[in-house]
Symmetry: C2
Subunit: 311 residues, 2 copies
């Protein structure tokens, strides 16, 4: 049995509550939030509502009531506000056992910043979800440089056990990785709309019917590795590198040369890592890609059809 | 009955051949390619092989044999080479009727460049697929500035009729839109790998389990519109705009101010277009998103499970 305390229960907190409840029938969850409508908000979820009646979820009105020596995990998704978080953690630290896991679901304030006032700042680990966390599998696990590997491992194990897909980031990067990649793409999408090349709706249709569909099955490196055929990613980049560089130039994103890297250094690195990760491209790899893509497309079309019929 | 001539039959040409064959049982396709192994290459597809036996697909060894007054559509996917394409089109133009549709599947050479030597350069329209075109629905329809709207419409109608999703680009943009968005994201992914934040495999896992999954169901603007709740995209950008700008700054992509735009101009434009396209965010919109996302995830997990069991 694990005692989990959730601090801050907006939409993300509620969704995490559902995720934790689905993990085991014995875990107990304490939710702590000053909002006046907390009871009615939690009752908006049937699953949480039932768990409240069964006593598996309880409400705490103060931090002292929410965190105790019986608490195994404290997970925070309060206001995205540095002052709030830096004041919170030393108070939490004083109430829980030394082996209690301390996690923040922040979308941008690194553990090293949040934990500045703690006695053991390395205890704090960011576990950044993708909304809604009860459905989206990604958890970006971002330790601070002071975090022991053991605490990284325990966060990974927890989220693997609920069927999610934790990925550890080795450096505290602005925006972490998923949002960072999305926001860089968004910037270019906004630019193309602003220039009148396409509308907002066109961008969405383009993404849904190309890279969204593809990347739901295989991420960009794996896809481009396939795209190179027998020669894998190296062949792909050799074929299409000129177009890629023209896009980078035209979109105003910097050439790697600007950062003091020559192209060869990153090129070798990504080609080697891709080859190590996926091996040579085999027919089975393309067959998997195509089969999975067709099934995803079928499901999305079916749901789109249903949605348009009920409108 | 439509007579379609495909010039250049590598992987993309073969896949288009399959797509055109699936459109109707009466269309006839002529393939023209100098490759010595053309017969055996085409026979690699059961569908095309059967169509060859039935006479629905025939092989032409010269342009004169491939293009005639009976040809309704000429679609080119030859070498990505400006000289090849600019030499090709005046020759084709001289062989076909004035109302024959002329399409190029180029991934980067604009119609206005390819058609420079033609008597009527506006006839040429780019129909850029996403690989493999027999499966991936997106077709980027990119006219030159000289193209009559009627020819744009006919390309759109053709690909809608085969169940694909054509999107018209209103300006000839380097890399078109899907690849452009993908390559901008790739650049940032390469940067994060180069910096040691994540590995190639981590990037793929992150994308598959967050933005890939999400964008297979709803593109970025529609997703961020949902993410703003009742306030839609405007509320989302108001909440998270600071993080987005920090990412743009940190990733070295330019601020819009650099281009002589103040933030407000593009912001108003994308917020208005998003509101017009999707209306206010309703519960049904989130329910659709979550239901479709769960089903996509289920299908991908099922296929991943099968693939790992057969390895």
């Amino acid at each position: 049995m694990t005692n989990i305390t959730l601090i801050g229960t907006g939409t993300i907190g509620l969704s995490f509550c559902q995720l934790h409840l689905s993990r085991s029938a014995t875990d107990r969850i304490t939710v702590c939030d000053p909002r006046a409508d907390l009871d009615s908000f939690l009752s908006g979820s049937e699953q949480v509502s039932a768990a409240l009646r069964e006593g598996r979820v309880r409400i705490a009105r103060s931090l002292e009531e929410a965190c105790s020596l019986a608490t195994d995990i404290v997970q925070e998704q309060g206001p995205e506000n540095e002052a709030f978080k830096t004041r919170l953690w030393p108070r939490v630290e004083a109430l829980v056992r030394p082996d209690c896991l301390l996690w923040s679901s922040t979308s941008g304030i690194p553990a090293s910043v949040q934990g500045a006032g703690m006695a053991s700042p390395g205890r704090l680990v960011v576990v950044h979800p993708f909304n809604p966390p009860s459905i989206m599998p990604l958890i970006e696990v971002v330790p601070s440089p002071a975090t022991p590997e053991e605490l990284v491992r325990r966060a990974v194990e927890y989220f693997e056990a609920v069927g999610h897909r934790p990925v550890v980031l080795r450096k505290e990067t602005v925006g972490f990785v998923a949002n960072r990649l999305a926001f860089v793409l968004l910037r270019e999408a906004v630019h193309l709309v602003d220039e009148g090349v396409v509308s907002v709706e066109d961008v969405d249709a383009i993404v849904e019917n190309s890279i969204g569909l593809r990347w739901s099955v295989k991420g960009p490196f794996a896809s481009y590795h396939d795209g190179g055929g027998r020669g894998g990613l190296a062949a792909f980049l050799a074929n299409i590198g000129g177009t890629i560089q023209s896009v980078w130039d035209d979109a105003g994103v910097v050439n790697f040369a600007r950062d003091g890297h020559d192209g060869a250094s990153w090129l070798d690195k990504v080609v080697k890592q891709t080859g190590d990760a996926y091996g040579p491209v085999r027919d089975e790899s393309l067959e998997y890609r195509d089969r999975a893509t067709r099934r995803v497309l079928e499901v999305v079309r079916d749901e789109k059809g249903k949605a348009s019929r009920t409108e």
